[in-house]
């Protein structure tokens, strides 16, 4: 029985390249995942502005560094989601990662449908009560994927 995927961190980045939510599930340096999100942005930009533009939302493995593998996803509305997974030797199935991304996108869509929420808020603003449901959904998704990792 292959071990289930563990999520290290999830980052949502707005179309104007502002971070919306960066959530870590590993007891580690949260700043490291901010840095991971930043470098992922660069890789995403060079992939989407290249000549061979693919029409796919799922960008696949962006890059790997230290013990983190970063996977990227861009929605047609130019919002980016970055997933940081621990670099393991076990095979990571694309289908599972894509499903995780779709679940995250749906959670964001449910949150943004609330007309009382200010869209493209900063991570500080996202800590407020209105975004609570969104954060809870993201935690639920990470639990469904990883089976019991504790959010920090």
């Amino acid at each position: 029985m292959a071990p289930l995927l563990r999520l290290n961190a999830v980052a949502f980045i707005s179309p104007h390249n502002h971070p919306i939510l960066i959530r870590t599930f590993e007891k580690g340096d949260e700043l490291k995942y901010h840095y991971v999100a930043h470098t992922s942005l660069d890789v995403i930009e060079e992939r989407t502005n290249g000549q061979t533009k693919s029409n796919d939302c799922y960008l696949g493995l962006l890059y790997a560094m230290d013990d983190i593998a970063a996977y990227g996803y861009i929605t047609p509305l130019k919002m980016k989601i970055v997933l940081a997974l621990p670099l393991t030797d076990s095979v990571v199935r694309d289908a599972e990662v894509i499903m995780t991304f779709r679940a995250l996108h749906l959670a964001y869509y449910h949150a943004s449908s609330n007309p009382f929420i200010r869209l493209h808020d900063t991570p500080a603003g996202v800590g407020s009560a209105k975004w609570k449901r969104f954060r809870r959904k993201v935690d639920e998704i990470s639990r469904a994927v990883g089976g019991g990792s504790v959010p920090s």
Binding site: C57, I74, T75, K78, R102, S113, E140, A144
Partner: protein, 223 residues
């Protein structure tokens, strides 16, 4: 045991769609226009009353009396609400409807873009608006799309659903005038969807004969 988390994740990724009765959108549009007309009449009356009170208290210099001392070259003095009554109120309702539409359109685009690949260029975006947005809001596709390939698109619908059943006992012209207000919300929906996708354009609805409606979309040059 492997199946349980997988199905939980897939349930989160693809929840069963929640559907809404199609007729409710029509009713909502009709009632929204009436409700907002009343509401914006109250709001503008309140604003005018405040303005009058401020003038009486001497805080604000009184606005120039209309049409007497108005310099014909000076066209900017239409800010005092007393000059143009009904057109002003219509404008208020229309901008509110459009603002609501922008919000709805943005969220709707977010919903519809879930399962599709990225947009390749602005024509693709317009085609998405014509097909998917129109079908989910108004049950049919746009009948005619024309473009001058320089950012101006004209969408023509031969039987636009919100105004398909408008009639007025005062005759065709009166019905046409009233219908103009009812297309403000759909124009806002289109504009909101476009702006969420990333194109800050303008959408101008035009009605020549009921129930035909054209929307002129101007997208900025840099795409």
């Amino acid at each position: 045991m492997q199946a349980a988390p997988a199905s939980a994740l897939s349930a989160l990724a693809d929840p069963p769609a929640r559907l809404v009765d199609g007729a409710t959108m029509d009713y909502l549009l009709i009632e929204a226009v009436n409700a907002l007309r009343v509401s914006s009449a109250v709001a503008s009356a309140r604003a005018r009353k405040i303005e009058r009170d401020m003038v009486e208290a001497g805080l604000v210099p009184p606005p120039p009396p209309p049409a007497k001392q108005q310099n014909p070259r000076d066209s900017a003095s239409s800010t005092s609400g007393k000059i143009s009554g009904p057109a002003d109120e219509d404008e208020g309702v229309r901008s509110r409807l459009e603002a609501i539409g922008i919000h709805v359109g943005g969220n709707f685009a977010e919903r519809l873009c879930r399962d599709r690949p990225l947009f390749s260029d602005s024509l693709d975006v317009i085609k998405f608006v014509c097909k998917e947005l129109w079908v989910s809001c108004w049950d049919k596709q746009v009948d005619n799309l024309r473009t001058n390939h320089r950012g101006v698109y004209v969408l023509q619908d031969h039987a636009f659903k919100p105004i398909a059943r408008i009639s007025s006992w005062e005759g065709r012209q009166e019905a046409l005038k009233r219908a103009k207000l009812y297309v403000a919300l759909p124009a806002g929906i289109i504009r909101g969807a476009l702006s969420r996708i990333g194109f800050q354009g303008t959408v101008v609805p035009e009605i020549t004969t009921l129930p035909q409606c054209t929307f002129q979309i101007k997208l900025p040059k840099n795409t």
